[in-house]
């Protein structure tokens, strides 16, 4: 199976889940939706940008959410990477404003070698721009603290980390670690 089909399928299911679960067809009528942007650092120092959207499935102290992340990060002199990662989250509110959340997800990583790439075929070298898709399951942990705004919405700084895998990287599972710091805008 093409590995990029997996995150598309999972994304579709995760987006459908909150809508079906609440009998709603409109995101505005869901308990909460948030969007975020942040720094994503593979091994902390390989810089990237993460964009994500959250869809809450309930409004309890123990909350279930779905999230879709779009990440791009670069490893200087090595590779440029784009990760599409749908996730399921369990969020535990420790106070009215603070929470911890654990996530599990499965996505697709597109990796392209950095700089010039030449392919050797039939005795000659020709430039190529293509990279490769990898299956990328992930486990994460994150902390957030909400700051209520006058319009009832909230700004939420988040700090988190995750491990994710790249498969098949030369026929095996290659573990990667990442740190992210982000700001999300929560719409009630």
């Amino acid at each position: 199976m093409k590995s990029w089909l997996i995150p598309l399928g999972v994304t579709y299911c995760l987006l459908l889940l909150p809508i079906k679960g609440h009998g709603q067809t409109n995101f505005q009528e869901l308990p909460s939706v948030s969007v975020g942007i942040g720094y994503f650092g593979e091994l902390f120092t390989h810089p990237g940008l993460v964009l994500y959207g959250d869809f809450a499935l309930n409004q309890d102290q123990n909350q279930w959410l779905t999230r879709v992340n779009l990440v791009h990060y670069r490893h200087r002199g090595h590779s440029a990477n784009t990760l599409l990662l749908p996730e399921l989250l369990f969020r535990r509110h420790t106070t009215r404003q603070s929470y911890w959340e654990a996530s599990v997800g499965a996505g697709s990583l597109y990796q392209r070698a950095h700089g010039q790439v030449v392919e050797f075929t039939e005795g000659s070298f020709s430039p190529t721009t293509s990279g490769r898709f990898y299956f990328a399951p992930s486990l994460g942990l994150r902390h957030g603290r909400a700051f209520q705004m006058s319009n009832g919405h909230a700004l939420v700084p988040n700090v988190g980390g995750r491990i994710f895998y790249q498969y098949p990287f030369h026929d095996f599972w290659l573990m990667r670690a990442a740190f992210d710091v982000s700001l999300s805008y929560q719409i009630k």
């Binding site: 030449v118 490769r132 026929d171």
Partner: protein, 341 residues
Amino acid sequence: MKMLNKFTMLLFWGAILGSCYELPVSDDFTFVRHKGTDMPVWVKGQTDAEVFLIYLHGGPGGSSFIDIQNQFFAEIEETYAVVYYDQRASGNSLGQSDRSLLTLDQFVEDLDVVVQFVQTQYSPKHIVLMGHSWGGTLGTAYLLDPGLQDKISGWIEVDGGHSLGQNAYQYSRDYVLRVADSLLQQQQDVDQWEKIKAYYDGLTSWRDTEVILDHSGFVTQAGGYFYDEANREGLVGVNQVLLSETDFLALLAQNKQVVLHMDVWHYDFTEQLAQITIPTLLLWGQADGILPVELAHEAQAVLNLPPDQFYIFQESAHSPHYEQTELFNEKVIDFIREHIK
């Protein structure tokens, strides 16, 4: 709200700094793609020189980037071009190459692709191969193909594995046993060294993943990789893990995979070395415990090398280019100057 403002500023400056992080990469850095793998090839030094030295890293499953970042061959680069590359499924190489391609024959084919790349890109008058440890196995196997040897002007073997067979195992085992006996005489770590000695009872070969990993650990304990254990410090630092081009997680994982799946601990090319007719230089550490110096003397005899093409570093173990860098570079430069014309 103050905390939120600080956080927002941190995010902003983090994004700015992150976007500035992209540093220029040399035009002489290329990934060469072949049969499912992208091998990073980095050409450093004098790219208009007549002589290009292609460095074959150890392992199998090592990386040349550690040698680059520690600038072991900086003095050679002042006169010649040095080509570093990471082999299939090793170091910083990328891709989805199948495990069945982890064979010596495939690695020889990959090396020839890199040689052709250098020829195509730079048209040097001479290409010299320099193989360290497993790189010595790879280089020897390459040169034993007459059609491939014709492309190469010189060969430098550094504590190399022209033999990974029975004789290499015995020399290396004997090294560990000699150290064990010496330490037992001094009543040092008696239990530990008696257990290590007992491990070798009835063991006749290292052609087994668990054995080679255990044995390698014993060689480490016996000081067979570094003449001075203090030299180990600084070989891989925080910079290499976090800030360099090295994909350190991949390097570690790939090394493990290659060690587990490459069946190489039986090749013995000693008797065939006479077929290598190009100028050859043997460089070896006197205190090497994994590929002991006896292997160098065997190779010297078969190759019938004159004294200026054979040198033993007295204060080095497995990596004289690391432990006696200046002298090492001097020997390589002298060899190229005298023999590659």
